[in-house]
Structure formats: structure tokens, C-alpha cells
Symmetry: C2
Subunit: 456 residues, 2 copies
């Protein structure tokens, strides 16, 4: 549509500057000291949605961080699209590895560097600007609703209750999310699903106090050593996960689909060079794309215990800790898997120590098959603005709330992601390419148009 | 000697208050921000030695923290005792586990609670007060020298050079150290030696940046998992250390000596209750006392990597770290052992990661056999004030400088320790029993007297 193109060309710089302002708010949901920033960020999102043309915009408090809701209902006979995104971000640590402040966005070599640039402020904001484009050019082909939450990075703890309590408000025909990546602008791809997540924290306690490692070392189990042995035992020599029953519910992907997924461009030498590793690691019998897409994994996200400061301290600590998460694939259920992992850790704990394992958060895996109207509308939109149809892929990340949308609202979710794997999500120097930001704003209106057409 | 007893009874409270003042100085040698406190502490030690009656007292700067030297040379024909101690302390972390401030000493149930109460301010200060007792009662039976350093807790990094450069100044017939423990006031014991130490830090690097554990998890080696596997592999199922050659230089202790050491009172049930553990851990084929006395050990003193803050972060970190130390027994040499451990860690590192291992500090093990004049003088002193001869034991801790004293000064070291294993050395709530402090001050003059007699 020429009108869209013209409007976007005219407001290009403003779109970008508004995003930079949003990125300046340190909305770290995991840290209680950022509670005021979370509220400030929710208010900013509300203001931007109002300016963009939403007729009803509201902040809903939850027991955690607030949810921002907005809508523009044009015609009850049109299909309704619910855009979901999140304004919260991951903690920025380790701070010393950032080249510029995580909350002082800079544009360098065509990339926006800031925490949340891609995940997910930059991506949900494309929807706000695509919406503005359609409203201001009087060409909104659907009814649209926005649900922008503040707890995605901590497992959408209170969104489930919110969705259950507001089923009518949120009623929609499809959920649209931009919180994933594509292969590249040259090789656009479209996720047919995301993995689920099970996240736990483990505390291993040995002696009841820190001990002198000379006086007691060798005679009392060191909880760090025991935790290391427990972690080491979780993968066998083929890097299969050893927890009994871990793979029981995994729906094997048919050979034909594996072959289709295998067509995604992948260059092992480039992949290794980008990561700076000599050798790749992973479950025997699967390719890299399969390991990150169709297989469940178990990763240690953090470990700590004993003396971790400058210099040396000869302590045999009382406790050691780890944060461990599993990515899940259909049909693994996160609650069942969390219980399985916790029970296993407690079972393998030797009598020398006590192990306390507690769940952090989780979410079920989710799929939107290629043959659905929802997937096809997205695929067509990408084909229109990129000049080539997207490659269907399986996303490795997790968006815990998608399974709930399906059960509570009865509609499928489309993962229309414009990030790149190299965007350093959850890492220092997170970035989002300016070109991807604009490409997203350009593509999104076509999704709405094609979806409205396909639904007629 | 009644004169000693009377003097000490008269000045009892002052002795204790002076120690409390010394404990208020946070002389943490491992932390650069405490450099001014280290200087302040050295000056306080100098002032106390001067007041106690030393005729020459001097602070010697080193490339690290300063050394305090003092002497009282009465008669060139008398033997000379060099008292060694240290005014630096271990870092107080984890602070939240202290019941009172680590540098705000309190006396509760007859115990002095403070970092350094036992290790080693409380113990070296017994010598200052014992010296004062002998000087003020005109009964010093030996020439006495003090060498109180500020880097024991970080491996006496610069004391070696200092000793080599001041051999004449430090010339002595015996070195006397109170920096170890005895079994109890009811069952006094005397260390015939201390273990050596080898301390290294390991850095495992996987990918060149922190990664999103969903996008990359399962396809790239996680350095925490690899470090855990490396640590797990260092002990076999019998808790023997698996590093090839680790035990090569261990001088097996003869059955007769093991039998003698086995006479030390030990109650496994009490030991477990005190530590709050259900089961003990250790090298198969050895008793608890042997595991902490005559056998070398390997302990992880600290581990960290990834996200360790509040909440959850789904990161696959770039790096993981550990601090690992070994306790050594005769005839293991710390430099050789450090190299052996570092080489082994590099050898077992898989191609997925790079491993950097660097030495922190170390020291050789040391023995002063029962049949030496030095041991006998100490044994007799304890027998006099405790009413029973001490049980000879092997100390589990390390005093890295002792081997150097023997090689540079040509004299043996006596470990006249008055601490208890339960003193929480290197842990929160370090304490020193007031009774042990006074018992040490009472006993030390007898060591000097008996040593002078035995040397005649």
C-alpha cells in the first residue's frame, strides 16, 4: 500500500526516537529495586498507544508488574487480532561487558544497542507504529487489541490469572507476537513454534557453617563438589539428558519435517567463528538447528558458592547454588517436567548433603503448523515485503504464555519475529538492527490485511 | 612462677580490652580497599609491642602489606626465640551469617566473637602479653624477637623475600607460632606439623559472549556444565584424587605413628552433630583425623558463573570460574603440585572450551618431630599449666612460611596453638574462648623457660 509506505517514510525518525526513549527506562522485572521503573515504563507504553490512535487504553495492576491493554474496535464483523508483547527486560549483568550503558541506547553501524532493543521493546513497538500507520491512513483492516505485559522475563507469573479473569476483554481470533528471530533479512524465516521452559533453583547444603578447608577439608563433603557431581551426571557421554523419563513425552518430529527444517541455511564454520568456539557441543544424532529447535535441553544458567571475591580464601562452604533450566518441546508439559527434574535432583543427592530445589517459572511448548490460516497470513506478509517466502523454522526460545492463550482464548498464536540470533538477547550489548525495526513496521500491516482476507 | 601469675591476674582485663581494640581494625589482606586498615593495624601492633617492653620495634614496608618486627636482646649467650604471627585476617563474607559485626567484637558465653579473634590476632597477642609479663617481672629467660606479618591469609607473598633479605636480623634458635588449634582445654594437644597448600583459580571460557539459553542452548557447550564435569572428575568413587601423580610424593605415615595419632579423642556422632551432617565424606581407608592430618586433599573453595542474582535469567554464560586448593603432606612440594594440578585441568579440558588456570599461592608441608628439643619444651609447658601432657597431632591447616624459616634461618618451628577446631576460622562468627586466650598467656612463658633450660 503506497499510503502506508508514504506515512512511514515521513515519520521514520520519530518512530526510532520514540523507541530510544522507551529503551532508556530500566524496566528489569526480576529486580525489586526497579519496581518504580516498571510503573514508569507501563505509563510510557500507555501514552504511546494512546497517541498511536487506540480508542481505549488502560493499565491493569496485577500482583506483580502491571499489564497495559489497548484496543481499537472498528467493526464487530471484522476479525480481531490480539498483539502481545512485553515491556520488561532481562537484567543487564554483567555490566562490565557492555560497550555502552544498557539503558543509554546508541545507534552504531545501523544497530540500536540497549537492553530490550530487540527483546522485546523494539519488537512490540513495531506493532505500535504499524497500528499508527493503519489508523492514520484510515486503513485498519481488522479490530486490534494490545496486551503488553511486564513479567515475560520472569515467566509471566501473573498474566495467566489476568487472561483468565479478562477472557471477554481479550477475545480475539489470533494472537500476534513479535518476540522471536528470523535467519536474516536475506533469508527470512518464520517460527512455527517455540519451546517450553522449566526453570528451577537448587540449593545444596553440606555442613551447617562455612568451614576452614584445612581443618575440615577431606573429612566433610564440600557442597560445591557434590553440586558439580550432580550437574555433571545430568548429561551422558552423548550429551543426552540422563534424567529418567526426560524424553518420554517428546513427540518425535517426522523425517519429512526434519528434512524441511534442514533446508534452513546453516554454515558450521561461520557459526563457530561467530561464537568463538573450536568445537560445537550437543546431543548426538541431531544437527545444530535440531538441537536448538526440536529437542529439549538442560542448561545451567548460573552457579555460585564459597568465596568468589578477589584473592584466595581457604573455605569449605556450607552451601552451593545453581539455576537450571530446561527447554521443552511438544508434548512435554512444564509442570510435569519441573517436578521430574526436582525429584531427580533430590534422588541423586548423596547422604552427605541436603538438596532443596524450587521452581522459578515455566511454560509449555507451542506450535502453529504451516497449514493454518494464521501461519499463511504471516508467510504471505513476509513474502510481500521481503520478495521471498519465509523458511519455516522451530524457535529455540520460549514464550510461556502462548499455550495459555490457546486454552483460555481458543485461538492460535503467530510468531512474527524480526530479530536475529546475533542480537545478543539476554547478553551484554543486546542490539536490534534499525533495518529490521523498519522492515517489521512495513510488514505488519500486510499481516492484518492478509489475515482479514483469509478469514473472510 | 608466682610472679607471672600475679602480674597476669592484675592486668587481665586490660589484656582482653587491648585485644578487642586490635580486632576492631578490619585488616583484610585480600581486599585492596583495606590497604589503609592494614597500615593502621601494623601501627597498632608496633605500639603494643613497644608498650610491652620491646627495645627495638620497627615497621618494614614490603611490596605488599608491611611487616612488624620487634626484639628484646638480653644476653647474647641465651637462646633466641623468634615469635611469628600475622595481623591480617580472612575476608568476613558472607556477612549476612554473622550474629554480630565481624569487626565489632563482642564477648558472649566466655567467647570473643570477631574476625581474627583466633586467627591470628588473639593468638599472636598472647605472645605480646606473655612477653610483657616476663619483661615486667624481670624474668625473660631468652632473647626474643617478633615477626608479625600482614599477608599470611594471602600466602605470605612478600615475606619470603623479607626473610631472605634479613637473615641476620631474624637469626634465632627456634620459631614459635600460635596459629593452630588444640583438641580442648581438657585434652590439650600439640601439632607436630602443618599441611602445605597449593591454591589455584580456574577460568573456563565457552562462547565469546553470554548467549540466550533458548536460542543457543543444546548446541554450544555451557562452561558451567564443563567446569562441573571437570570438578566432578577430580575425585573417584572412593574419594581418592584422580590427578595422575597426585600421591606420588606422599610419605606414607608408618602404622605405629598412625596408631599413636589414632589415640586422639574423637567421637563421630558428636563430630557429625556439630557440623549438622548426616554422613561424613572422605578418602576411603582413612579415619577422619587421618583425612584432615596425614592425607592430601583437594577442595573447591569457590565457584561462580552465569546469573547469580535474584530471580531467573535464561543465559548460557561465556565463562565459569572456580577457586581450588589442595592441602599437601610431606614430601609434596607446593610448586610441583600446583603445576601438576594446572596441567591436569588443561589436559582434561574438552575442545569446546578454553581453560586458564593460574596459581594463587602455596606453601610446603612441615613437621617438627616429637623427639626434638623444640617440641619437648612446648609439651612440657603445656603439661605444667594444663596438668597433663599434650597429645601429639597433625594439624590440617597450612602456615606457608614455616618451610622457609627452616631453610633460611636453619631452625625448627613449634606450633603452640591454643585455638579450637570449633573456632569458625575463615567462617562467619569466628571466635576465641577467653579461657584459651588466658591459658595461652599463662603457658607461653614456660615454653621460653623450658626451652632455655633444654638448650643449655
Amino acid at each position: 500500500m503506497q499510503a502506508w509506505k508514504d506515512y512511514q517514510a515521513q515519520h521514520k525518525d520519530r518512530f526510532l526516537n520514540e523507541l530510544l526513549d522507551l529503551l532508556r527506562i530500566p524496566s528489569v522485572s526480576a529486580r525489586s529495586e526497579h519496581k518504580p521503573d516498571m510503573i514508569r515504563c507501563a505509563e510510557a507504553v500507555k501514552a504511546r498507544l494512546t497517541e498511536a490512535g487506540a480508542t481505549k487504553v488502560e493499565i491493569y495492576p496485577t500482583e506483580g508488574h502491571p499489564v497495559v491493554y489497548a484496543e481499537q474496535i472498528t467493526d464487530a464483523s471484522l476479525p480481531t487480532v490480539l498483539v502481545y508483547g512485553h515491556y520488561d527486560v532481562q537484567p543487564p549483568d554483567p555490566l562490565e561487558l557492555w560497550h555502552s550503558g544498557p539503558f543509554e541506547p546508541v545507534i552504531k553501524d545501523g544497530k540500536i544497542f540497549a537492553r530490550g532493543a530487540c527483546d522485546d521493546k523494539g519488537q512490540f513497538y513495531m506493532h505500535v507504529k504499524a497500528f499508527e500507520t493503519m489508523v492514520r491512513t484510515n486503513s485498519l483492516p481488522v479490530n486490534i487489541k494490545f496486551l503488553i505485559e511486564g513479567e515475560e522475563e520472569i515467566g509471566s507469573q501473573h498474566l495467566g490469572n489476568f487472561v483468565q479473569a479478562h477472557k471477554d476483554l481479550l477475545k480475539a481470533d489470533v494472537v500476534l507476537i513479535s518476540d522471536t528471530a528470523m535467519l536474516s533479512l536475506e533469508n527470512p524465516s518464520l517460527d512455527i513454534g517455540v519451546r517450553g521452559l522449566s526453570y528451577i533453583e537448587v540449593e545444596v547444603t553440606g555442613p551447617n557453617r562455612d568451614l576452614h578447608s584445612g581443618v575440615y577439608g577431606g573429612a566433610v563433603a564440600n557442597p560445591i563438589t557434590i553440586l558439580a557431581k550432580m550437574i555433571a551426571s545430568l548429561h551422558d557421554e552423548n550429551n543426552h539428558i540422563t534424567i529418567p523419563g526426560f524424553y518420554n513425552d517428546v513427540l518425535e518430529v517426522p523425517a519429512a519435517e526434519r528434512a524441511e527444517l534442514g533446508k534452513a541455511p546453516y554454515n558450521e564454520a561461520e557459526y563457530k567463528t561467530d561464537l568463538g568456539v573450536e568445537a560445537l557441543w550437543g546431543e548426538k544424532g541431531y544437527t545444530t538447528n535440531e538441537r536448538t529447535g526440536i529437542r529439549p535441553t538442560l542448561e545451567v544458567n548460573g552457579i555460585w558458592g564459597g568465596y568468589t571475591g578477589e584473592g584466595a580464601k581457604t573455605v569449605l562452604p556450607s552451601k552451593a547454588f545453581a539455576k537450571i533450566s530446561c527447554r521443552l518441546v511438544p508434548n512435554q508439559q512444564h509442570e510435569k517436567m519441573t517436578e521430574l527434574v526436582i525429584n531427580h535432583l533430590q534422588k541423586i543427592a548423596p547422604a552427605y548433603v541436603t538438596v532443596k530445589a524450587t521452581p522459578h517459572h515455566g511454560g509449555d511448548p507451542y506450535l502453529t503448523p504451516i497449514n493454518t490460516v494464521e501461519f499463511q497470513a504471516a508467510s504471505k506478509a513476509i513474502a510481500t515485503t521481503f520478495g521471498k517466502a519465509p523458511i519455516p523454522v522451530r524457535g529455540g526460545g520460549s514464550i510461556p504464555i502462548t499455550a495459555l492463550f490457546e486454552s483460555a482464548l481458543g485461538c492460535k498464536t503467530v510468531f512474527l519475529g524480526f530479530g536475529l540470533d546475533s542480537d545478543n538477547l539476554h547478553s551484554p550489548n543486546e542490539k536490534f538492527d534499525v533495518a529490521n525495526f523498519y522492515k517489521g513496521i512495513e510488514t505488519i500491516p500486510y499481516f492484518h490485511q492478509y489475515y482479514a482476507e483469509l478469514k473472510q
